[in-house]
């Protein structure tokens, strides 16, 4: 069973200590929501979880093995959706998604692509260049990356930002399915995801 955990983590941005002595644990099929005020380190923690940055102190482990031991393997098992949508204005929605699937080493699969587009209501926009998309549509394209290539660990930074009610419901559905299939997720958010049960990690409180 997969299991993602961190203990005694400290994070430094520039010369500031954003947080220290932080522990988290995500079991298979579970969702961890990161809550806290602006600047409390939600995004920083997600970047540590993605191994984009290294923690100042502490270890992050996947099934009891430190992720720093094999960062390539860790990258292969995660999806990261950050603040930026990574949608190229010149490429169509489908081309953007195909590129990101290939970047993760997944061979192009039209069936999977169609399903991902459909899940986020993007099917009619598939051949539209990125520059014609609204902010919410770009966000949905970014989130559709989650479905074009499989990964057990999803790290989402404010995924609902700019999404309308319909898209938020779709995202909740997709997250539910991911968790039901034994996936793990860490989501930084200010608004409730509407998933019912989830563990919350509060940042920015003196510990």
């Amino acid at each position: 069973m997969n299991d993602f955990a961190g203990s005694g983590i400290a994070c430094r941005r520039g010369e500031r200590l954003v947080f220290a002595n932080l522990d988290f644990h995500i079991a298979a099929g579970r969702l961890l929501t990161l809550v806290g005020p602006n600047g409390s380190g939600k995004s920083s923690l997600l970047r540590l979880m993605a191994a984009l940055a290294e923690p100042e102190a502490g270890v992050i482990t996947w099934s009891a093995t430190p992720i720093a031991d094999d960062p390539d393997a860790h990258r292969a098992r995660l999806h990261y959706v950050g603040h930026l949508d990574a949608v190229k204005p010149i490429l169509t929605v489908a081309e953007n998604l195909r590129f990101h699937a290939a970047l993760r080493g997944t061979a192009p699969d039209d069936g999977r692509l169609a399903a991902a587009l459909d899940a986020f209501g993007l099917a009619p926009l598939a051949d539209l260049p990125g520059r014609f998309l609204s902010q919410g549509q770009r966000r949905r394209t970014a989130l559709a990356r989650l479905l074009v290539s499989p990964a057990p660990l999803w790290l989402l930074d404010e995924p609902t930002l700019g999404l309308d009610a319909d898209a938020q419901t779709r995202l909740a559905e997709i997250l539910k399915r991911h968790l039901a299939a034994g996936g793990l997720a860490a989501v930084a958010t200010h608004s409730p995801l509407g998933l019912g049960e989830s563990t919350a990690l509060e940042l920015g409180r003196p510990r």
Binding site: A53, K88, A102, L103, G105
Partner: protein
């Protein structure tokens, strides 16, 4: 390998759909070369003497002009993070970016260089050497330039900083590139110079992507 070819294919597609980017670089190359006769006078002998130097120096500057955008746009729209997060080795993906950069700028530069050589009255014997030297030298320019483009990501004055970092490292390519053509014009063997250019490329191929990848990891950390 999927990721490597995907990076090249995507960059080529981007360049193909927005040809203005490459065209601007070529326009700069041609225009800057054309300025020289106004600066030094139109005497064919003088122009013929300095033709190679002008073409090479201007090619370096044109290459530099295009490098600023190599990772800048990727960083701005968030693609860079996803490239760094790809399970494929970052060095390989960086190499893919360099290949695409060379195909979209180095290759067009080579293509127009005979025309510019004609305008500058380069000796007939120099053309083949010029094309060969550019073919061997410009990939090195892309590779070294990528290091600078990666290192200056997120700086307060990236555009102004890039030439300061990269141009000193371009000097060997410039020296051997020009020497090859001058040797050809003088009827001397060009082989040693071309071999040295090839040597620089052989050194840059494995080493430059390592340095660039390290710079990109820092930039996204």
């Amino acid at each position: 390998m999927t990721a490597f070819t995907a990076v090249i294919a995507r960059d080529l597609r981007l360049a193909w759909r927005a040809p203005a980017d490459s065209a601007t670089v070529i326009a700069f190359f041609v225009l800057a070369v054309v300025l020289f006769p106004f600066g030094v006078g139109p005497e064919p002998q003088i122009l013929a003497r300095i033709a190679v130097g002008i073409i090479w120096v201007t090619a370096l500057l044109a290459c530099l002009l295009s490098l600023e955008r190599l990772f800048q746009l990727e960083a701005e729209d968030g693609s860079l993070e996803l490239i760094v997060l790809s399970p494929a080795p970052l060095e390989l993906l960086v190499f893919g970016k360099c290949v695409a950069h060379w195909l979209t700028t180095g290759l067009p530069l080579i293509a127009v260089s005979p025309l510019l050589a004609l305008l500058l009255n380069l000796h007939v014997d120099g053309y083949a050497a010029l094309l060969l030297a550019l073919a061997l030298g410009t990939p090195t320019l892309s590779l070294i330039g990528a290091i600078g483009a990666g290192l200056t990501l997120g700086t307060r004055r990236g555009g102004a900083l890039l030439p300061l970092l990269v141009l000193p490292l371009y000097i060997p390519v410039l020296i051997f590139g020009v020497a090859a053509v001058e040797a050809a014009v003088a009827g001397l063997p060009t082989r040693p110079h071309l071999l040295l250019l090839g040597g620089l490329l052989a050194l840059g191929l494995p080493l430059a992507p390592i340095a660039t990848a390290s710079a990109l990891r820092q930039a996204t950390a």
